[in-house]
Amino acid sequence: MKLLKFFFVGIFFGIVLVKSEVVSWYRIFEMFKFQSFHMYGIIGSAVFLGVLLFWLIKKLNLKSIDGDAIHLPPKDRGFVSYILGGSIFGLGWALGGACPGPMYILLGTGVFSMLIVIVAAVLGTFTYGVLKDKLPH
């Protein structure tokens, strides 16, 4: 039961991302061509509301479902890993039209070739883990 709630969150997430078309390769192409407001509107309104919600959580000291204080972990400081890693991610995102959530959602929509993308992504993550100490961060 403790884990079941995450299953429902996943279902909801999957439905939202399909119905909003953000899992579409075409929408991502259009975004990087600056030819539509759609994706910017989605990310922008999510972040706008997110800033407000996180501010409220901190301000009101809201508790999580287990009664603990909600902790929003800050990201480690840095530059090189974020800009380089981000760029590498962006290349793949634009080529395959899928980030680590949508690749599974698209599998669910019946695009079984996504399995290849998923396996390759796991391999990519594995490769990073092996090379981690040799990369600039």
Partner: protein, 185 residues
Amino acid sequence: MDFLLQPWPWYVSGPLIAFVMLILVYFGKTFGMSSNLTTLCSIGGAGKYTDFFRFDWKAHRWNLIVVLGAIVGGFIAVTFLSDGSSIALNPETVSDLRELGFCEAGESLLPPEIFDWGSIFSLKGLAILIVAGFLVGFGTRYANGCTSGHAITGLSNLQLPSLIAVVGFFIGGLIMIHVLLPLIF
């Protein structure tokens, strides 16, 4: 009920994504989809090769459950919540895509030129999917997050590193769409 079956506008979708983030935070977790890839590596025994994957993956089972749900959600959305309407792309986008050789822009979620079986069974088609997946998996870990972790959660939490990562997402994406894709297709 018609509005449910039609594509959802951005001002509905964006807030709903913020709600997903909020509910995961309320459940004591974070909204960061790429961690499932790390968890899968750990389950697969990658801890034998490097400390990076040596952690108790059972504590991270929840993100795999979210992934399972997401697969089911994708199925539900196309099977029960869709009226088959095409994606309302900018006509300019459609003509740009036609020039590249993508002839059915917007008729389905993904271009058959990349994702259909016929395309996958060519060396080029297979290479595109493998390279795309590998770059996403490698880049997301190097940048310590993906679209959900940086562009949504990180920016919502006013994290400068996330802004740098998002700038990176765009550098990579713009290079791919404007420079590399015309060379590939």
